[in-house]
Every structure is written in structure tokens, then in C-alpha cells.
Symmetry: C2
Subunit: 117 residues, 2 copies
Amino acid sequence: MTVEWKGPFAFVGLIGGRWALMLLAELTAGGRRYQDLHDGLEGISHKVLTETLRRAERDGLIRRQLDPARTGTANLYELTGLGRSLEEPLAALGRWVEANWDQVEAAQRSWDARAES
Amino acid sequence: MTVEWKGPFAFVGLIGGRWALMLLAELTAGGRRYQDLHDGLEGISHKVLTETLRRAERDGLIRRQLDPARTGTANLYELTGLGRSLEEPLAALGRWVEANWDQVEAAQRSWDARAES
DNA sequence: CTGTATCCTCTTGGATACTG
DNA sequence: CAGTATCCAAGAGGATACAG
């Protein structure tokens, strides 16, 4: 995924990773701490969670700050306005899946069936 | 990218590859032959073009048929109705990039500048 | 708790040669 | 022209240990 995505495809660089979309989904409901994200994104490793967070932060999609509601080292991650503005176009893709995914699976099945000849 | 993308993120399995989006863009204008696609997608190899075409065909996004306008072995690839229905939600992402990409780059620059301390 | 640093594996995609 | 078959390199991501 180390590609120079150009023009209208540039968004792939933001959400193209293995976890980026799921991370954004976790944060749409509100701010989360590192540990909560690690629990919510089942199967993610420390390393990859940190990398994904850092990249989203660098891209301006999320923001990190010391959790004002806690003492100690707890950080709070939350979406920025830029990150929130991505929700609607992504939701449009989600609705497309909702409406059309059965067609995709039907196509795959008939392809696979044909492949057995 | 060998992931079981679930629910609203399933579309990533369709367009997540290095070339899938560019391939669909090539085909929105109309049917194309293999050689034209190979020329249009600058830098793609035979192998990867074939893989990308086969996967999109398996997913029901594109269709392949013998070019009716030519003799010989020329194949014609074109979008199916399912593939065309993906255009609008993807265009929404394209518009988001158009409207917000400068903010993304600004965030990256200020992050990188801060990283030099 | 919230990370960073290594090491390692597996997949993607590129180069190239060959086939109908 | 339109692929298929191999071989290979690069990089993303996982496991684990260590640190503030």
C-alpha cells in the first residue's frame, strides 16, 4: 500500500490499511482510550494499533489528548472535524454493501461453480 | 489484504487492491480491450492486470465477452449493472477528496514539522 | 496504562518467459 | 493479441519483549 494515490483515489491512502476503517468506526461513537480501542478491535496488535493511530493522527482524521476525566496516563482519541466529514461518504459505501452484497456473493458462487468444470 | 471484511466494510474486498479503483475508472467511460487497459493503467504488469480483471469479474463488477466489433481474439471488458452502481458512492469519496485534501496535506505538513524537534 | 523496538511471516505485486 | 506460469522483492502486519 505504499502507493502514490492520486486525484480522486487519494482517500485510499487514508482508509486503505487493514484497520483504519474499523478504527474510525470505533471512534464515531465518541472518544476512546487506547485500551478500549485495543479491546474493541479484536485481534489487533499493539504495534499495528499504534501505527494506525499515528497515521490517522498525522492525516488529521483523529486527535489525541490527555483524558481530562482521568488521572494518570490515559489518553483520549477522538475524531476531528475532518475525520467526521468522512463518515457520510463512507456510510454511502456501507449502504451500497447493504443493498448489493447478496448480488456480489451470488456472482462469486456462480463463478466458483463454473470453475469446477 | 487477505481479510474477511465484514458488514459495511465488505466493499474493501472489492476495491482494496492496488489497481481495482483505477480499473473501474477506466471502464466507466465504456468497454475496453485488454491491450487498451494495459496501456491506460500505466505501470501495471500483465499478471496483475489479469488478476485484477479476474477478481472484478468474479465479484460481478465487470463482464468479459468476445468483442463483437472485431475478429480474432480481442476481448471486451465492461462494467455490469452492479459495477456501475458502485460509481456514485465512489464519486462521493472523490468529491470528499476534492473538498478536503488540502486539509489532509496541511495536517501532514504540520505533523512532519513537529516531528523534527 | 500506553506505548516503542525487534524480529519474522505472509501476501501483494513486479519481472520475465512461455502458450494458444 | 490475450493471456498463464514462475520466481522474487518489498512491505504490511503479527508476536513478543521491553520502557516510561
